[in-house]
């Protein structure tokens, strides 16, 4: 396993995940994730180089459906559930701003 998780690791990961953490949250996350990751050291001793990684349990490959036109979700019904919509589209605040 990699070394112990640090404050910087947590801050970096929080940024990647778009989660805001205050300094107390970071401390708590370091302690909690550290304890969990420590427990995970039980797999360190396993010899795994020759083992093929398993991503999905049931052996299905190249699952394709027939190229048939079907009805889509109703646009108005979908947009009615959006936090903000304008002219039949999702609306968001400016993309270029202080955080960009």
């Amino acid at each position: 396993m990699a070394g112990r998780i640090t404050d910087d690791d947590v801050a970096h990961v929080a940024r990647l995940a778009r989660l805001g953490l205050d300094p107390d949250d970071v401390q708590r996350a370091v302690a909690e994730l550290g304890a969990v990751l420590e427990h995970f050291a039980d797999i360190d001793a396993l010899e795994l180089d020759a083992v093929e990684p398993m991503a999905q349990p049931y052996p299905l490959t190249n699952v394709l459906r027939e190229d048939v036109v079907t009805t889509s979700l109703d646009r108005d019904e979908v947009l009615a559930q959006a936090p903000d919509a304008v002219d039949g589209r999702f609306a968001v605040p400016p993309i270029l701003g202080d955080g960009a």
């Binding site: 990647l16 953490l21 797999i43 396993l46 093929e52 990684p53 999905q56």
Partner: protein, 479 residues
């Protein structure tokens, strides 16, 4: 004549016209109204639509048509399955008030089978937890002792059946979220083979592990519900193309000559009262004619580690969609990036954030091979070990959970202690195999103990035969 309380009994009575679907549904709604204030199993009760649907079923019976194998059966749905026009919250502030624009495949199939949805049940937020304490909308209590948790994450669906509100319900199981609450609430809970039941419309937690399955008061009812929801769905690319079931014959078939495996290297940690019931289950199956055989599954013990790297990794990716743009919660901010951060920070609860951080860490540059890559290799070891064990045994038996239901609050501040609740249930999700929890008497403080039956992929019929045999043994001993 007493009114039937099982799903099979209600459906038979409704189809024959001896009981109306309206009466069956009213009875369920009355019980919910009278007692759910104390239990907290439901987040939404759909009384009005349930009454309309029940009336339509009675009209169908009156006109001579057959409304289906679950005719008039009231059913509760875990609130992470999409129901068109009915709130689907995942017990998260993130989706508070969201009305899905479509039904999950399991919902359409239940309706086709004649079942009537009476409400949506509480869960740990986004199905992350083992106690239903992580819900943003309140804690569900265990009907056997309201100071205890019902287990989780499908705690509301388990409690709804245990409290007698509904004969059957649906949950989802990513690492034990159907079986563990079934065990703690003293009901039957089934996680089918990965791909047996469509995941279309199940809000994704960990896509390579998630599977929908039934809760029921007895094994035969669980079989009927599973038959109704299982089978190929072109809308889910991981759906098994071959036909599912049938299971009816399995329930009465018995276990004569069947090989029931005892895992000699099963991780320790079950309480003595749980172990006692687990040992009694082997005795009961031997008495019923099964052969008990010893098998080894050396990698079983690494399941917890593999799971708590793989599931959070997949969750961190799946939950990236909650960005305040297309649905659900939004916190206003001057630009989109600030809006994403503010929305996600406010909308997600502590356990969801913990898992997103853990999963993002396990997938991040420099750590991917050490964590996620390694966990995927351990997952293969577990599947290979099971495959070897199943050359010697038809099914395997374990306790469902290491303890009976614990006190509310007992583990909520210790994530690792909570994760250890899933020790015995996780390996089946990693391997993609079916597993079910069957109530098998009581342990400490008179609380229910579940025994888990594990079977190889698409081995549901064998698994149900064993589950039914355990149920018969309990009926015979009248424990």
């Amino acid at each position: 004549m007493s009114t039937p309380s099982t799903a099979i009994g209600i459906a038979a009575a409704v189809r024959s016209g001896s009981m109306s679907a309206v009466d069956a549904v009213e009875q369920s709604l009355e019980r919910i109204g009278a007692s759910d204030g104390d239990i907290g199993a439901f987040l939404t009760v759909t009384a009005s639509s349930a009454r309309d649907e029940a009336a339509a079923i009675d009209a169908a019976v009156a006109s001579g048509s057959d409304p289906g194998p679950l005719a008039g059966v009231p059913i509760a749905i875990k609130d992470n399955m999409c129901t068109r026009g009915i709130p689907t919250t995942c017990a998260s502030r993130m989706l508070d008030g969201w009305l899905p624009p479509y039904d999950a495949t399991v919902i359409s199939r239940l309706r086709t089978a004649g079942a009537v949805i009476v409400g949506k049940t509480n869960l740990d937020e986004f199905a992350m937890g083992s106690s239903t304490e992580n819900s943003a909308f309140g804690v569900t209590k265990n009907p056997h002792d309201p100071t205890r948790v019902p287990g989780g994450s499908s705690g509301g669906s388990a409690a709804a059946v245990a409290a007698g509100f509904v004969p059957v319900s649906l949950g989802s199981d990513t690492g034990g979220s159907i079986r563990q609450p079934a065990g703690l609430c003293g009901v039957v809970g089934v996680k089918p083979t990965y791909g047996a039941v469509s995941r279309l419309g199940l809000v994704a937690f960990a896509s390579s592990l998630d599977q929908i399955g039934p809760f029921a008061g007895n094994v035969a009812d669980a079989a009927v519900v599973l038959e109704a929801i299982a089978g190929h769905d072109p809308g889910d690319s991981t759906s098994i193309p071959e036909p599912f079931g049938p299971l009816g014959a399995a329930v009465t078939r018995g276990v004569e000559g069947m090989r029931v495996g005892r895992i000699t290297d099963l991780p320790a940690g079950a309480d003595p009262d749980v172990t006692e019931r687990f040992e009694a289950a082997f005795d009961a199956l031997a008495d019923a004619g099964a052969d008990i055989v010893d098998v080894e599954v050396p990698a079983f013990t690494y399941g917890l580690t593999a799971y708590y790297l793989i599931a959070p990794a997949e969750a961190s990716s799946n939950l990236a969609r909650y960005d305040g743009v297309r649905y659900g919660h939004r916190v206003a901010a001057p630009d989109t990036d600030a809006m994403y951060v503010a929305t996600r920070t406010d909308g997600f609860g502590a356990e969801v954030k913990r898992r997103i951080l853990l999963g993002t860490y396990a997938l991040s540059a420099g750590y991917y091979d050490a964590y996620y890559g390694k966990a995927q290799r351990v997952r293969r070891l577990i599947a290979d070990d099971f495959a070897r064990a199943y050359t010697h045994a038809d099914v395997l038996l374990t306790p469902t959970a290491p303890t009976v239901a614990f006190e509310i609050g007992a583990k909520s501040d210790d994530p690792l202690a909570m994760y250890l609740c899933d020790t015995y249930t996780i390996p089946s999700n990693l391997a993609g195999h079916p597993a079910m929890s069957v109530p098998f008497g009581t342990g400490a403080d008179g609380l229910p103990v579940g025994v888990q039956v594990l079977a190889p992929a698409v081995g549901e019929a064998t698994m149900f035969a064993v589950g039914a045999a355990l149920e018969r043994a309990m009926g015979a001993s009248d424990d």
